[in-house]
């Protein structure tokens, strides 16, 4: 589902070029789950952003399915994010002006894959059926992240990319959220690439890949 070859990326920071990724390669099959771990600044989030088409590669290839993400223009990358990939962020990044229900349905409706029953089931599974009319600011962090997971899975993406999805949550809540996410991902048959600092959480996934200073360790 995801094939990355010799991926390189650098940023200019304070007038200096910082090489963040120095030739990373990895493969992720359909329905497989992979934890990407590493120290801060090792390039985990950058790799995930490149895979989602949120940023542009300097060198190397990123294939999502048969699509070479590096060859896409902005509209193509937007199309990829809308239809093929689902991204879950550490900050939840829900849309504050929409209700929980509208947030869950939003991505699916954008992608033209809205399925009311599936959305209802998702709401039920994340335990927020009673909260559907509320706004994100009225929910706890754990509840918001569950909404973010439901929003992503409502669109039934082939590839789920999660960037430290439990970084803002306590250990117990984090474990519950990841367990729920894995269950739901498994139900949809999507592949999952999750960036995390936590070895415990990483152990819950099929495989684990460690990045160190922009390279696979």
């Amino acid at each position: 589902m995801l094939k990355i070859r010799d991926l390189q990326k650098s940023y200019v920071s304070a007038g200096q070029t910082v090489q963040v990724l120095k030739g990373v390669s990895l493969d992720l099959a359909g329905a497989e789950t992979l934890a990407l771990t590493g120290e801060s600044g090792s390039g985990k989030s950058t790799l995930l952003h490149l895979a989602a088409g949120l940023d542009v590669v300097d060198a190397g290839d990123v294939f999502v399915g048969e699509t070479n993400v590096g060859k896409l223009n902005e509209a193509g990358r937007a199309h990829l994010r809308r239809d093929v990939v689902g991204v879950i962020f550490q900050q939840f990044n829900l849309i504050p002006s929409l209700t929980v229900e509208a947030n869950i349905a939003f991505h699916a409706r954008l992608a033209g894959k809205y399925d009311a029953d599936w959305c209802k089931r998702l709401a039920d599974r994340i335990g927020l059926t009673e909260q559907l009319g509320k706004y994100p600011e009225q929910l706890s962090g754990g509840q918001q992240q569950r909404v973010a997971i439901a929003r992503t899975l409502a669109a039934k993406p082939a590839l789920v990319l999660a960037d430290e999805p439990t970084g803002n949550l306590d250990e117990e809540t984090a474990a519950q959220v990841i367990a729920l996410m894995l269950e739901l991902v498994s139900e949809t048959g999507a592949a999952l690439l999750m960036v995390t600092h936590s070895s415990a959480l990483a152990a819950m996934l099929d495989r684990r890949l460690h990045l160190r200073a922009g390279q696979v360790a």
Partner: protein
């Protein structure tokens, strides 16, 4: 400690220069239009005072002739001989310059110029003392800054020669008079004594004009303060974490508030100084038009150049300080109530709206209720402007509620996730934009209201001119003998000759012009009356009734059937006519009664009825055959063009202020959007991450502003029409004494809407492009919690 706290608080502006600029620009713009208007008013008032000092207006009792003609020198001598201490004044215009001749030996001290006083050594050659920029051919002139603008003053003999005057224009009655003095009528017939009313007559006459300007200046000030309030609110909100940190580090809350208040005071004064400088240039640009207006409407001479007077620049700084402190009062109050452990994260404005919106709506409804009460009782300028103020403020307060309801409707009707988000998100942005939109509402409503008033006035005025200027030609004789000869010359050559003869009188104790027109079909066919009894003209010409203008009817509270007391006669009012553009009352009585009351009066001006195709030939005959100067023969079209020119000039200033206010409101939107654009990235980045392109988000951002402007216009239209009604039915009646019919001008409203939409689109373009060009790395920071 204070210094460190100050440095920390000020460091915010270094990193948020755009907010700093917005704040200063808001203060400067608010002050600019206010101080510009104050500068114009101060200049005009200084000119009136100078004129009053020069001419003795409002200070000395004066004697004038009943028939409006010059006073004979013999009459003056007769008065002096019996002990009346009077001083002659000759007055007239030469090439547009007001020439005043005084008699230095008898003139009261302080009249004219000290150079002309009895103590001064008069120059041997003919000399005129003139105000700046005035010159008179063939005479030595001495520039004298203390003189009223466009004025020349000199010895009475010299001025009489220059003007070709046959007598004395008026006599000034000195303050100290002998204890025993024979009554005026026993010495000379046909003269009347006018007692001073204090202050300058012109000053009183033009009060309403200046009040209008001040109201516009204040409206612009309020619009500018809205910008300031928005910028201050955001700055205080975003400094909440810093305030919390400072307090946690031991800086007392009182010190923080004192520092922030002082910071605001300094910024207000800085913005005020910039505003006063801009205001000076605005005033300098507008003053020539104001001077032309005041000259045309009231005959008041106002200098065309601007002096830097402390009264307006101090008032500019004062109001900037007041406005700045008022704009920051609520933010400082909130700060004083903030618990130490209040959330360190700055909250978006949109989250604060709930309770505040309810209070705002109640306040708005209260204001509109007050406006309703004022509408019922308003009968003067003060209550009229109170009505305007409560109406505008109430509407501005209610705007967020109305827009929120409209957006909620849009949200309910929206199809598709993007449009649902668009409406919901717009509702959420509303509190952050509502001040700018309220400013836009006021500016658009003022534009609609004032343009409706001016256009209604223009339409009525053009129709009125067509009625009143029915004669094809207007001629002016050079003197009384010439007038008799002119009448004889015209007899038989034309359809009719209409003498235009006017006497200044007091009607029911109010100043008025008395006319005694001949009985002619011109009047019967063309004059339109607001109210009249049947056979009105027959009754007037029979000497059994009078017709009065609307101004006199309003000021004297006179209706049909009421009795009007004139010198020597009291008659019932049988007709009331519209008389637009005339500042004072007018009375028409029958020709025979007029001649009985004023047998010595002789018309100098005539309306001439002649076939339109004969106008050119008659004009030629009057000039070449009769020898009348060309300037004394004016055709109807010429007078109409002149009258319309005065009309257009009158509203040039109002129009300019109108558009400046709209410009300030456009700037308010731009600044609000720019200020908010930094807060928008975290809100829009998730949409981008979910697959909306930056281009589409850009377009949606522009559409949002344009749509809000359109909704605001929908609200501004009825408000503007209500404003026009208040101006026409309340303020104009109180200010000028006439009520105008109200017309609506849909094309001009559509034109305003298009302009507002273009301006809003342009204002939204920059922030939208800025957003669209946000580097990917900045957008990604939203997801990495590095912001």
């Amino acid at each position: 400690m204070r210094r460190q706290a100050l440095i920390a608080l000020l460091s915010y502006w270094r990193r948020n220069w755009l907010q700093f600029f917005t704040l200063l620009a808001g203060l400067a713009l608010a002050t600019a239009l206010w101080s510009g208007v104050q500068a114009i008013n101060a200049e005009a008032r200084a000119s009136y005072d100078a004129a009053a000092a020069t001419l003795g207006e409002g200070q000395y009792t004066q004697i004038t002739a009943n028939n409006g003609l010059p006073i004979a020198v013999e009459d003056y001598v007769a008065l002096r001989r019996v002990g009346w201490l009077v001083s002659p004044v000759v007055e007239g215009r030469l090439d547009g310059v007001r020439l005043i001749g005084v008699e230095p030996l008898t003139a009261p001290q302080g009249i004219g110029t000290t150079a002309l006083s009895i103590e001064a050594e008069l120059p041997s050659e003919p000399t005129l003392w003139v105000s700046s920029g005035v010159s008179v051919d063939g005479v030595t002139t001495v520039e004298t800054p203390e003189l009223a603008p466009n004025t020349a003053i000199g010895d009475i003999g010299l001025v009489s020669d220059l003007l070709g005057a046959q007598g004395i224009s008026r006599l000034l009655v000195l303050s100290d008079q002998p204890v025993r003095q024979p009554p005026l009528e026993s010495v000379v017939q046909g003269l009347n004594v006018q007692t001073p009313q204090g202050g300058s007559d012109i000053g009183r006459l033009t009060d309403s004009f200046h009040l209008n300007l001040t109201a516009f200046g204040f409206l612009s000030f309020v619009v500018g303060i809205f910008i300031v309030n928005g910028a201050v609110g955001l700055a205080f909100e975003q400094r909440r974490p810093l305030v919390r940190t400072l307090r946690a580090l031991g800086v007392p809350l009182r010190t923080v508030i004192a520092i922030m208040a002082a910071e605001m005071a300094v910024l207000s004064l800085l913005g005020g100084v910039i505003g006063v400088v801009i205001g000076y240039f605005i005033a300098a640009a507008l003053l020539p038009d104001v001077a032309a207006t005041l000259q045309g409407l009231y005959g008041a001479d106002v200098g065309g150049t601007l002096a830097i007077r402390p009264v307006w620049w101090l008032s500019g700084l004062g109001i900037a300080l007041l406005g700045g402190m008022a704009a920051s009062a609520s933010a400082l109050w909130k700060l004083s109530r903030m618990p130490l452990l209040a959330g360190a994260q700055p909250r978006a404005w949109s989250m604060q709206a709930g309770r505040g919106r309810v209070i705002q709506t109640i306040a708005g409804l209260f204001m509109l209720a007050a406006a309703g009460i004022f509408a019922l009782i308003a009968d003067g300028l003060v209550t009229g402007f109170a009505l305007l103020g409560t109406l505008l403020l109430g509407a501005a307060l209610l705007l967020p509620m109305v827009l929120n309801a409209a957006l909620a409707l849009g949200q309910r009707l929206a199809k598709g996730p993007v449009w649902e988000w668009f409406w919901a998100d717009t509702r959420q942005q509303l509190p952050g934009l509502s001040l700018a939109l309220a400013a836009l509402l006021l500016a658009m409503a003022a534009n609609i209201g004032v343009s409706t008033m001016v256009s209604s006035f223009r339409q009525t005025f053009v129709g009125f001119l067509d009625q009143r200027l029915a004669a094809e030609l207007y001629v002016t004789a050079r003197d009384e003998e010439d007038a008799v000869a002119l009448e004889q010359f015209l007899a038989g050559k034309v359809e009719s000759v209409l003498p235009i003869e006017q006497i200044d009188v007091e009607a029911n104790g109010l100043p008025a012009e008395l006319y005694g027109p001949i009985d002619d079909r011109t009047y019967r066919d063309n004059w339109r009356f607001l109210s009249q009894v049947p056979q009105m003209w027959d009754i007037v010409q029979a000497g059994e009734g009078v017709a009065i203008n609307e101004q006199l009817s309003y000021r004297g509270d006179l209706q049909l059937g009421d009795m009007l007391e004139l010198p020597g006669i009291t008659l019932p009012v049988v007709g009331i006519y519209g008389d637009y553009g005339n500042p004072i009352g007018q009375v028409i009585i029958g020709r025979e009664v007029f001649k009985e009351l004023y047998p010595d009066s002789q018309a100098l001006r005539y309306g001439v009825r002649v076939l339109p195709e004969d106008v050119a030939a008659l004009t030629d005959q009057l000039v070449s055959e009769y020898g009348l100067p060309e300037a004394n023969v004016i055709n109807q079209a010429g007078i109409k063009a002149y009258s319309l020119d005065i009309f257009e000039r009158t509203f040039t200033v109002t129009g300019a202020l109108n558009w400046l206010t709209l410009g300030v409101a456009g700037f308010a939107i731009l600044m609000s959007l720019l200020t908010l654009s930094g807060m928008r990235i975290p809100q829009l980045a998730p949409l981008w991450a979910l697959g909306l392109t930056r281009g589409r988000l850009e377009r949606l951002e522009i559409l949002r502003t344009v749509m809000l402007t359109a909704w605001t216009f929908v609200f501004a239209l009825p408000l503007g029409l209500a404003l026009a009604w208040v101006l026409l039915a309340v303020v104009n009646v109180a200010a000028f004494g006439w009520r105008l019919p109200m017309f609506v001008f849909p094309t001009s409203y559509v034109f305003l809407l298009v302009q507002a939409l273009i301006a809003a689109g342009a204002a939204a373009l920059w922030p939208a492009l800025k957003l669209g060009r946000t580097p990917t790395s900045h957008l990604l920071k939203v997801f990495a919690n590095e912001r």
